[in-house]
Symmetry: D2
Subunit: 348 residues, 4 copies
């Protein structure tokens, strides 16, 4: 069996660390290079003592001599802007790229420039990028060389809405997406609101009406509806490490029972290895997917208000980042689809 050499660029953040954890369990790959500007020169285990099996890996700088030659597939867990430039360089060198940043997620560069307040310097490359949500774009991902790994909130939101839109169950207005995320979603940077004493025992909303994942959700929702659609999306910070729970409020297009909705969701997701529709009357708990690449979905109908309620749960660092990136790699390289990410949630 041939072993693929892969690189993790930006390996000292939480998504990078999770990639390293998952790739270690993957039988078809070997991590040949890990970069970090901040920790360059230090062993991986100094930044992440839990990654003890990487005892021989040392962080290198992004600009390390010949780095591009040492792997065939590159995971980019880099900040915006940096990711774009690195992707361009690697694509030119004929490599495969899975970009975990937002740089290639929005198909319209004008939307990117509006929400990220920076120029999109790789517009031609943008056209070749595939939005890496396997449940929507599996076939295109298989042929892609550049995959834009979806955001964590959009992953949970789009998986919650997709069957309802495809089945024509809901209207394209009044869509409310209320998401609750663990604090690892904020990354490993030092900011007052993410100190343990500030986070613990509290809940807050943030980014009201302005969160950058909004256009990403709207892009896919619009594409599914076949017309431009806006949504209300509000993220919340929850005192836990991992997990996103998304509660979607959707206006029913016509009277329909919960059973019918449940049947549609079950049918559409029946062959998906990572999406599980819970029995009717049960709702997801993020803890049940913690550490795993699974997405749990529950549905209900409020007949008094004519609302379809959909709740989805993912681990933001796995299905919302590193796990989905490995899934995309598996599709791009023709590996078994679930290789390295078949583990179930760590509960409790």
């Amino acid at each position: 069996m041939k072993i693929l050499k892969v690189a993790v660029l930006g390996g000292s953040g939480y998504a990078g660390g999770e990639l390293l954890r998952l790739l270690h369990l993957h039988r078809n790959v070997q991590v040949s290079i890990v970069t970090s500007e901040k920790w360059a020169g230090s062993p991986v285990s100094s930044a992440f003592p839990h990654l003890s099996s990487y005892e021989r890996h040392v962080f290198e700088p992004l600009a390390a001599e010949g780095a591009e030659e040492r792997a065939e597939l590159f995971f980019l867990a880099l900040p915006h802007k940096t990711a774009k430039a690195a992707a361009a360089r690697l694509m030119k060198a004929g490599k495969h790229v899975v970009d975990l940043s937002a740089d290639f997620r929005l198909r319209d560069p004008a939307v990117y420039e509006e929400w990220y307040a920076t120029e999109h310097t790789e517009r031609s490359l943008l056209k070749r990028a595939v939005y890496g949500l396997p449940e929507l774009y599996r076939d295109r991902i298989r042929k892609a060389r550049l995959v834009a790994n979806p955001g964590c909130y959009p992953t949970s939101a789009i998986l919650a809405l997709m069957p309802a839109i495809r089945e024509g169950l809901i209207r394209d207005e009044g869509i409310v997406i209320d998401s609750k995320s663990g604090v690892s979603g904020a990354g490993r940077s030092l900011q007052l609101p993410f100190l343990a004493s500030e986070v613990n025992e509290g809940v807050r909303a943030y980014g009201l009406a302005t969160h950058r994942h909004t256009p990403e959700i709207e892009q896919e929702v619009s594409s599914l509806f076949g017309r431009t659609t806006v949504v209300d999306f509000t993220p919340h910070l929850i005192p836990m490490d991992r997990g996103i729970l998304t509660t979607a409020y959707l206006r029913l297009a016509r009277a329909v029972t919960a059973e019918k909705v449940h049947e549609a969701y079950s049918r559409i997701y029946s062959r998906e290895p990572f999406v599980q529709v819970l029995p009717l009357g049960e709702y997801p708990l993020t803890k049940n997917v913690r550490g795993s690449n699974f997405c749990h979905v529950g549905v209900q109908v409020n007949r008094r208000t004519g609302t379809l309620l959909v709740v989805s749960a993912i681990d933001n660092l796995v299905k919302g980042a590193a796990g989905q990136a490995v899934h995309n790699m598996n599709l791009m390289m023709g590996f078994e689809e679930t290789e390295g990410i078949s583990g179930m949630g760590v509960f409790p």
Copy 2:
């Protein structure tokens, strides 16, 4: 200064314990009797070691000889049904009653019977009960002998919506109320989903389309609108002890700026001792009101969707239960309104 003798019936649950904590700080009252069926005969500190200043109080059974003679005002932290019967007995004896159960919150007994699946056996008494939300019914509470202390979720939801409805800012449809509560809201009963190992590090939605606080919210929202209004209300369980954060999504009736909304909320709550409208652009964190009777409110407008976003935070055991009960007592008995409940949040 005359000291009022008060009773706490049902003192071994979390709301009862919180009442005891707050009443100890109150200069006008003395707790003369505390009941608990489960702990009858044991000192209060056996159920609640934190209530060390109650070292001489022993739990008595509800049916203790002469209990009704030993206090002038009774807080009922009893289960439904039990509360109704106790309230009837005490009212007949000429006592003042603050009932923390749901038994007298719904003005229409038919609605009560539908949602609580039990007969309302005290229909005549129900007419005399005042819904104990001081921000709405201060004057009526002052004259009441029986106050129905609001539910925790309704308190947070109604305070979030009231100014918007009063000012005619929003439409009476498409109202979404997404609430996040700490686990003390589930009470002190032994159920698997509330074990620490099940709650910690996870978020879940529950009671979709069926939670009993829905009709309570709708009653007050309908009353404010002047016509029957339904809402989508979904509660969530958050891995923390205390606190409710409510995120309300309200369809704007007309184009309005966030500044105007903020001005309206600030004006309407300017004289309220326990409601604080945060500066525009800031949103509440439940931890900032933990242990206090305050409600923090933040507002924003999403111009892209035409939605008014309102976020409110309370401590479910204080403003959502025991603190509001003390506030109601203060109004009923003519005490200073903030007596015993002027403490600020315990942060961090």
Copy 3:
């Protein structure tokens, strides 16, 4: 490759659930039967929604017809007494048994009877049981048919002390073992002290001078010293799901530097696949081993007091229970030693 059929008796507790999670990742085994008295007849996923890959497994009662014929190796995650009897039955039927209960851990039945306050009804079988700590008894485990899987606290304590005793670094008196455990160690039973509202945001000591893991620690410590030794062991409950941190205070037998101690620990554990001695000056964090079978160890010397300080961290459900059980199975059956349990900690 031949697939071994294994059974999990008592599969609805946390250790049982963790066994199922780990066994699913194991290439040499297949779970052919899972029992639970409480959940008999229900699918595994009803008790544990995270175990979604067990969608076709249904809990059976322990007494299910022919259960003993359907597997070759049995994991017993049963209560005391029940475990003893089941082990006896299975041993008679020629099966391999890994018992996670305490029934066969104490070699002296009199000690068992004193601490567990019940008769040891399988004294002859007790002689054939091997204490399943691979770092101490690897060779014996390889030949055993009945392995007594160690307790979670003893695992963390013995691994912290063993090198110091073997190297003659410490005295056999004044040994203090202060352990801190996550709440999953308390199991999945409904008791007031383990409700989330009681556990969250607090620390407590319990079982002072009386915890049943004390004789288990003393048995192995005495065996290492070659003479009867008593220890002070105090467990504490920490507001987290998983993990045990043990801080050991050991009186140095002679002046020795931290470097020398570190060298000895590193040497002794150098070939152990699951024990990692951290660089001198670093100390373990339980979170770094969460979900993994690793044990992290850190050492220090307090020259002012003549004390050797050793800190160890494990996941109580993995190295402290299910992972070590799989490790024992791997040794007993000649599988690769780390098969199914090579995953690193889930951080953050």
Copy 4:
């Protein structure tokens, strides 16, 4: 009633914020000035939204013109060094000072210089400072103008040991003090180990054999024994906001029953308003003193090892910092001893 003007220097850290919360409830004082270098010019509520009743207070710089004239008693919640200099200035101006830093806790300046690696520039002032543990030095505090408020760990440790030493129950060797603290003890500074994602769901030991609170504990323990005594002290970081639990292992000087020990502790603490000895067989939970100035103490004897076990619990920000500072002020100024700090723990 005359109102005392007080100042809080360093009001934007957690201890400073807690002082402001408590002083607001105090009937004899008024906070006339609050300083913060970092937040100078901003309203108190911008740093601490929970302190909403301070809406008119604005942080000033320490060097604000005439600051020293605007209060009679100054609480110093400043970093080391800064505190020393400020104290000297204020003492010269005839003010009363309660210093929450470590600058005046160690009576021997050489010990200070060894552990804090900085010169003690106020040696003459040091002689006038009184160690502010009311349970030990109540009378001296009453007459003091400069009180050194004890460290959080030392408060919990000394209260655990004092009765045992006074009664001659224990030996002066082999003393082990294992403490577990919530993360607010680390202050409000931005450091990676205190990010929520790093702290949550984990326990670690730190500062082994080197923590600066060690000499403070040893100073008071030596003073009680009447001879120089060293102790093993190890602090641990617990995933919770507030609270310190200290477990002390003490070698009994002679055979004594748990009942006798309990009797001694109960007697010695019988008149202390803030120390409560729990019934024999019960042990403290930090959560029961959260937000309060109480210290709970539990005792046990391990007859097998000849060890006295004492467990104490405090809130590190109250009894371990701000609450004790207010207590000291009450003593210094002749206020009622429990004024402003009589509130019980906020549980759950």
